[in-house]
Symmetry: none
DNA sequence: AAGTGGTCTAGACCACTTG
DNA sequence: AAGTGGTCTAGACCACTTG
């Protein structure tokens, strides 16, 4: 199928709203009007309105109609930045220590996340990122070996895996999970923590047009690192 | 209309998953099977599966089938969501227990954050939000008394402070800081934690057109709550 | 080839809001 | 009474996955 009809209608409405041709709270054409205009069934017009409503762009009331919702209620500005840039911007020194870099059999969960066949090989890297020689992040990364065949040949003390991967397979999508955890003994050692303090753990799945590129687990001591997000409505 | 047929099917599937009768990644009956079993059209069965997929309970692959998704408490950093809505969307019960609600002299840091004169009064509320009677969040909030004079008269077991504040002074901006911390003894007691496990702490500053409305500190046990964010580029 | 989900149609009846 | 969104049907064709 070339392109779904409801997608065309969605794009049309979205364009109207983004160009301010339809203001906030303005009335949007009804299901019947859209069906007529786009020469589709009412169910297809409805699908477009429904999708945009769930997306937060429209709001609907039975008997009344469909209206443009208040804009930008959800704007993503959780920045998870390249750690090297972030440290340099603070005027500090960034060092990356490569703890390990090898090909391994994919752990089950990783294999599933990377959409690999069972027992496939993946590349695994483990780095400690330091700010002025103090460990700030432990980066455990699993990389799709099919998509990034030369991963093991890189020198990640010079260029972070994130930067390298962005060059090889530009990101189209990222998912983050943020948790508070107790670090393992091994993690404490690498992060030079003697008190098992709580850590932020960010699990990041990155996608490019060709597939799932990598899964990274980033562990940061709670006392040394925090995330910030800023939302404007 | 008494109750929508697709709601009945959704409830049936949700019950199967919550009772662990259907495990993670288990195959869910196909649209055709459900249509036959519930004596509805395929479109109606589809609607139930579709809703639960968007809700994150199921995942679907064309040609393969529909499966139980991995369950875990999830949220989004991108949206400022109401915790009550979030819990209800999972089909669970939300309870809010008001621990305290009073006027106090602003602690220095809070006074500065709220842009008040020294020694000004602020309203302080402390709530525990539960999901099916299990504490999920401890909410400590300081509110600008000049902007929200009737804060103390509200019943926050019925309406969350966030919802009330949004009505009084619509948000224009929010800042979040996300950290991993060790909970204090008092926090452990309120959250019914016996192991001092790491907690996510989200500090949220909210702004409206008229000024800084409130500063909230939200503490969530790491084992019960995590944040998720999704970025499309 | 058979089963799956994805899209789509042309109808239907309903509950709700407005004039 | 006319228009709106909400639910539902019984079909159809398609793309995708598996044996």
């Amino acid at each position: 199928m070339a392109e779904a009809k409801f997608e065309v209608i969605k794009r049309h409405i979205t364009a109207k709203i983004e160009s301010k041709a339809w203001a906030e709270n303005a009335k949007v054409p009804s299901e019947n009007e859209l069906a007529l205009k786009f020469n589709v069934s009412r169910m297809t017009a409805r699908r477009a309105l429904q999708d945009l409503t769930e997306q937060g762009l429209l709001k609907r009331t039975q008997g009344l109609g469909t209206f443009v919702a208040c804009l930008k209620t959800q704007s993503s500005v959780l920045k998870i930045r390249n750690i090297a840039d972030e440290i340099q911007q603070r005027g500090h020194q960034h060092q990356a220590h490569v703890i390990s870099l090898s090909a391994i059999k994919a752990p089950t969960a990783i294999g599933i996340a990377l959409e690999l066949t069972p027992n496939a090989q993946v590349f695994h890297s483990q780095l400690v990122h330091c700010e002025n020689d103090i460990p700030l992040q432990l980066e455990d990364r699993y990389v799709n070996a099919l998509l990034v065949p030369k991963y093991l040949e890189q020198d990640f003390s010079q260029m972070t895996p994130h930067v390298y991967l962005s060059q090889i397979a530009p990101l189209t999508e990222a998912r983050h999970t943020i948790e508070a955890i107790s670090p393992s003994e091994a993690q404490c050692k690498l992060l030079q923590l003697d008190n098992f303090e709580p850590c932020l753990q960010i699990t990041r799945h990155t996608y490019s047009a060709v597939g799932v590129v990598s899964v990274a687990r980033i562990t940061c001591p709670g006392s040394r690192y925090r995330l910030e997000s800023h939302i404007t409505i």
